[in-house]
Subunit: 360 residues, 2 copies
């Protein structure tokens, strides 16, 4: 399977900062509720979790956006919380409230109870989905596997779900840093095993989502998020040289830490829209590729405005990258939302290809 | 009234970057629901808006935290949305959902309908509260008046309330920038008149809250938030020299723009906890005082941790300010929350004074 040559390898080439005929594009949450065909499957499956846990369905929705748009990658349909779920926390979703855990991690004894899930039993449904998607893709585009970052997973595990102020985990960070580090270490072990297993199952690119690193004061980010990202970058098994599996570190609010992140052993940094790509490119000095960074809210505006913003984003990258488009993966600064118009997403994808091809 | 000499002028001196015997401290939302005596008044008054619109009650709750804590300033108890309310948008609060407007601004005709409220009729309750508080304070500490920033007020006015993604106003920014600029211009006119009136009524320091500037991409921030902040700084009537009324620009997520903000004609910049004060001080080169910037979530941790974080914050400012504490106003990076323990707030205030005095 891993021997099937890729028909479209633009993403891999861009992540390696090699020349491409146009800038590759994929979109976070590209398999999602904004698509009527996704909503139909979800209704049939009954719930988001049932979809994620059934490899055939996960495969079906992973492929849906590729049938509509000329995207340069597929990303596994799953959730970052599959790992804590497999650790026994009891993931469930409450309508309108988002994810919740039945057994959040609050005490010493909660942490002591945790162990690393077995990837081919506890999380077999993820690996089966990866294998199935790879087979169905048949080399059309690469498949991206992913995990939440240790800090982000810890946020959900300690808070017991989403949070507005992250008061429980921040209190743990100040009052019991030892306990939080122990928790983050176990999560990191699990994340490394999870990414290794996805790669072994066929994922050709890996992305870590540090969704909540940006809620931390800098000194706290450097204690509780960054070192664990760096460890993942060092320890995930990724092969060597031209065959090395690229790793992307995406983080909301990671702009203050671009220099630190670029010094991790990763191929790319994914940034949100709060930093200009020209600045991001200058600050990372060509050490990594950059992924991003259109404000997703742009997709609510008119096709003309979307195209203009695509052009702006492409130009800003080039401006900071010595006039070259190499090393840019176009994406949003965060995920798509359910109320977005699929036609506008088509406008975006088309514009990225057309406007980046023109100047190659 | 404005002739009563201040017993405690540390805040004014710090904002002017003059020496003080210890670092002054006040806290955003210091008059608020975390205080049982506040909750008692609120129950009596019936609603938040009734409190804000009754000068005697606004005065009472403004003074409450001063009776408990050795704070170096009072801040007018009010809401940033009084201005759009006076412009006829129909402000109301829905339990658990926050502020809403009956008549949001979406169309050309909505903007055309807007006019600048008369400060001594439409917003007389605010000016009466300022006058009453000044009288009751009798010069103990200075009184801070405030307004929302034009961009932040426009967010609420266009979205019709709070928002998760600011899709309506961002769409207006891309599809109808002319209309949004017209709206921001009218709001800015109103904000300038509002701050002028508060100062005339007795406010001794003014703060502008740009709560939502940080949701904008840099190029959008520089178009739709920054220029209106700069205009306020230029045009608000503030007197001259030693008598000049200090103006503080606070912004969540304003760290990328500290250089731009320091070049506005303001005395201080208020920053959130996502930037280290040493970096903020270095980047603003002593052009302005800095206010902040402890993560409010710190208040959920133990007294020992709170004191340690206070020390850290004080030290970081000094480190970036050539070893001097001058020009630092201690505050949180954002407001207090209802579930915070008043005793912990006492620990914070005491620690700021004690730990900053030690080294003067």
């Amino acid at each position: 399977m891993s021997d099937t040559p890729l028909v479209n390898d633009r993403l891999l080439r861009a992540l390696r900062r090699q020349p491409v005929d146009h800038t590759p594009v994929w979109l976070m949450r590209q398999a999602g509720r904004y698509l009527p065909e996704y909503r139909a499957v979800r209704q049939r499956a009954g719930s988001f979790l049932a979809m994620a846990k059934t490899p055939e369905i996960a495969c079906e929705v992973t492929l849906q956006p590729l049938a509509r748009f000329d995207l340069d990658a597929a990303i596994l349909f799953s959730d970052i919380l599959t790992v804590p779920d497999a650790m026994g926390l009891g993931l469930h979703f409450i309508e309108g409230e988002g994810p919740k855990f039945t057994h959040p991690i609050r005490e010493e004894s909660d942490v002591a109870r945790l162990s690393i899930p077995d990837m081919e039993t506890d999380l077999r449904y993820v690996m089966d989905a990866v294998r199935l998607i790879r087979r169905e893709l048949a080399g059309r585009v690469p498949l991206i596997g992913f995990s939440g970052s240790p800090w982000t997973l810890a946020c959900y595990m300690v808070e017991g779900g989403g949070s507005r102020d992250f008061s429980r985990i921040k209190t743990m960070a100040l009052d019991r840093p030892d306990l939080l580090h122990r928790l983050l270490t176990i999560i990191t072990d699990a994340v490394i095993a999870y990414l290794d297993a996805q790669r072994a199952a066929g994922a050709q690119v890996l992305q870590v989502f540090d969704t909540w690193g940006g809620v931390l004061a800098p000194t706290m980010y450097r204690k509780f998020s960054l070192p664990y990202l760096a460890r993942i970058a060092r320890e995930v098994e990724r092969g060597e040289n031209e065959q090395k599996t690229p790793l992307i570190l995406f983080g909301k609010g990671n702009a203050p830490y671009l220099e630190d992140l670029a010094d991790c052993d990763v191929e790319a940094i994914g940034v949100d829209w709060l930093v200009e790509l020209c600045e991001a490119a200058r600050r990372t000095q060509g050490k990594v590729a950059l992924q991003g960074n259109l404000d997703p809210a742009t997709l609510y505006s008119s096709p003309a405005a979307i195209q203009e913003q695509v052009q702006y984003t492409l130009d800003r990258y080039m401006m900071g990258n010595g006039g070259s488009r190499e090393g840019h993966v176009f994406n949003l600064g965060h995920g798509l939302s359910p109320d977005m118009d699929p036609e506008h997403i088509g406008v975006l994808v088309e514009a990225v290809h057309r406007l980046s091809r023109r100047r190659h």
